[in-house]
């Protein structure tokens, strides 16, 4: 039976762990030593880009007011100056969380509070006064591990109602022969990206396999610094719990202070990991410094 997310959150809370004024949560676990350890995983220098393309053909279908990016040119190949040269220039209009993204710590709250007792009321039309995405400007870079749960089950893509348990994470890492040291970034592959690339945005957004509430404790025990997945919300959706819409979000972001990554394209990276048996790498995934922002688009790079 599913526990109440509030009780889980209370048990796993990181509020105060890094001081009353902390605004970056579990990213504190990526110490300089961990960054250096991450860099040491970039052995051959092969790079994998994990970002979805930002385009009008992206995965958004209007849910929650999110739309796909609108890209417009303000100057084109027509724009030529008297010296015979020209410049092209462009604009973008987009939700900060319309494709590959980090959820900032101000993205989610409940019972009036965000992480570390920051009042939800501090997120106004002018944005987040605290916990804004620019607070993690020096992150996210560090050692990362892929847990390829889809491959563990021998499928291209988990079923939409598949809820990943802590035991599956253990078994997957065990099968892969990799350990998860404290202060690591964990990438979880469900294969769900294929629902978008081989299906459609509507199929992709219709639900998804993902983590269950039980995984929160596991993530706390492993002191995971940041978590990302290849689906659109990390967690299984719908949860099946009528009392909570996105309980994993609530506990991880609001109680544990964990930055969550969504819509990371893990297909090429996972194929490479399966081929060489190496499931750890440097992840360079910097946030844009959007003042008062609650999320950020990005193109994460994995370097093996």
């Amino acid at each position: 039976m599913t526990r109440d997310f509030r009780a889980v959150g209370r048990d796993l809370s990181n509020w105060g762990r890094w001081g009353a004024d902390d605004e970056i949560g579990t990213l504190n676990l990526i110490t300089p030593a961990r960054v250096a350890a991450g860099a040491a995983l970039a052995r051959t220098g092969r790079v994998f880009d994990l970002g979805y393309t930002l385009s009008s053909k992206g995965p958004q279908i209007g849910l929650g007011g999110r739309v796909n990016p609108v890209h417009l040119m303000s100057m084109t190949g027509q724009s030529v100056y008297p010296d015979g040269a020209g410049f092209a220039d462009d604009f973008i209009v987009m939700p900060l969380q319309c494709a590959t993204q980090w959820d900032g710590l101000a993205h989610v709250f409940y019972d009036g509070f965000c992480y570390n007792e920051v009042p939800a009321s501090s997120i106004t039309p002018q944005g987040a006064d605290r916990l804004a995405i620019d607070r993690i400007a020096r992150g996210v870079i560090g050692p990362a591990v892929l847990a390829d749960v889809a491959r563990f089950h021998g499928v291209d893509c988990l079923a939409p109602d598949h809820g990943i348990s802590p035991g599956e994470l253990d078994a997957t890492l065990d099968r892969q022969g990799v350990t998860l040291a404290p202060g690591s970034i964990l990438l979880v592959r469900t294969g769900w990206t294929r629902r978008f690339t081989e299906g459609s945005a509507a199929e992709f957004m219709s639900g998804e396999p993902g983590l269950t509430l039980e995984c929160c404790e596991w993530l706390r025990e492993h002191d995971v610094a940041a978590l990302a997945a290849d689906n659109w919300a990390v967690e299984r959706y719908p949860t099946g719990d009528p009392g909570a819409i996105m309980p994993v979000h609530y506990v991880l972001i609001r109680d544990m202070g964990m930055t969550l990554g969504e819509m990371f394209d893990l297909e090429a990276l996972a194929a490479d990991c399966a081929a060489d048996g190496v499931y750890e790498f440097l992840l360079a995934a910097p946030a844009l410094k959007v003042a008062n922002g609650v999320g950020t688009p990005l193109n994460p790079l994995a370097v093996k």
Copy 2:
């Protein structure tokens, strides 16, 4: 006397060097081995974020149609669901080159052509058909060197009409005791960022110190993979050459295929380099994968 930029461009051209279909230019010089060499420079794991904050208080004053970002919330701390939890969400409207940025290879052209003989006419209102910014999705990450020209001259900020010569680059690197191996990223500090942070956007945009046309050959000889500076256009502006508005842009981007970075905030990094005498580091500076885009905002991370 200043040479004609077209003649310089012809001499230094990289067209065809990496094949007739190449779309990433000098970023080809960052081989996996060079990435690995870059990662090896991340010795202590200290991270410096080089991005300007994206906000309405940014450096744009409307030149060339560029404005500062408009950040708007689509959901705030008010947005609470029946389960007592809520989500905040946000949008951004911005020129892709309004703050810290990479100029893509389709950003500049002359005499009808971009890099590698791509017709300028291929950059339409729908964006760049070739050379788009998403082509460099697996870049930019690699070994980087800071040339702190302002500090070399013992000033916080170079004078606005200061044109940096190849000799100054040599002397600066020499004084710093660092060498520039082929396939490195070069960051040049002029101190001009202070004109914005300690002055105003209008002062910052009124002109700038920077590289001169003569530096192009030096950059070619050193096989620099990408070049970034802390001013808004890399090169001195105005150039003093009535025949060319931005000749360094033309030669580096269009003839040599070099991705240029602008408005990198190098202040904290430079202070650290001066303190420990180490002027080389890993630069993790991924581009957003904007389909058909000609530039990208970013928050580059330097790791020492």
Copy 3:
């Protein structure tokens, strides 16, 4: 057999009719006397608003890069000042032709020219240098007539492949007992709006009944000043003519200089006209003065 649109356009051309520098075309036909005549049609003062609502639930499905409006609040009921009062404020992002609209005379061109020999090349990324929508700032207001073709046929909505002929326009006006004086605005009802309001955006955009190329001559003979319809492109689409995508647009806008209105919601107005037998009224349909714009959203008012 369908005539070539170029030949039709040549025959019906209004180029030069109002001078070589004219930028408003057939709106010249709405003289002050015609405006006064229009005002005299506002007999009882009953007002009908013909605009579609601007919202994320609008009729756009992404065709031609058009999206529905994005409306975002920059201040809400939360935004309270020290005096206890507050202001709410908002932004919109939208294609200028995403809902009820006027097509400006720079919206369409062929063989390199817009209306009155204005080169198509003058429409750059900076917008229309001539024929821009703000040129019609003093329009569009004048006497208008509704031709309810759907009702003439006794249907709620014409079939999608129904091409309206000049004869049908005559017969409809005749049945309605109304004449069309030179310098009038003509509104044509196909009922197609119901495909959107009772169906979906996708059904609405899948094709449409509308005017055929033969109507152009009829419109010229009647010296119609502006034409609007309740479908999304005035003319039948697809045309069935493999040689021309939107020939009615080409002839009316480019050759005749006629401002076209699309997605006018004529349902309530038409019901009223059927009830009282009065099919003429004042139309007040001002364009927004968008500098260099090629279209404008609007909310036209019909006053009977």
Copy 4:
């Protein structure tokens, strides 16, 4: 001595006057008979457009987060199809109140309430749930009177600290020989638009002459249906009252339910009125139907 705006608002309140569910306030005063009376004022059919141009060179300087419109082309004269024809198309990004505008009734509130006891809390990031600008879709069209206060004083432009009194409105109308019947739209000219057109956006926004709190009672006595001026906030700013930032807004919009127009360009119209001595006309000033919007841009037409 200035009265407290709350006391004034209480005295002049229109809450409940048109029913508990009313959402359009004093626009109820424009009955069909008044619309017809307005149309009868369009005697010669001469049209004056009162809208500011929407462009990047508009009057905004960033106050309150408002910026000037960003106009971008999605298709240009380059966009040619196989049939030899092409379409140009465009987008706009703008605050709804960046230039000539109607303030909707949800734009202002105090002590937790908007007009007619609508809670301020109903204006969320999703916009105004009630009192939204699309509620006035069938307005604003009706009989209007110009009070040219600047001309009354024999100046091009009132001094920035000039507070217009009820007595000045009476004297101005008296001198002009015009009366203000109930259910009319009043346009007040201060000449302040010249501060923008002959000066700069910064000068224009630095303060302004305008109505004083005392005028509210006068407007109530005359049952003015809507009020517009040629400055940016109708009322004098700053007010000189430390206890209230914009008291005229509070009373007119929130207590009286009056739609306010700002930045109406009255220069050409006023010159014409001075020339022919006719200060009344039809005003056709429809709002865009922005769902949940709190304001609207527009281009009002005056017809004499």
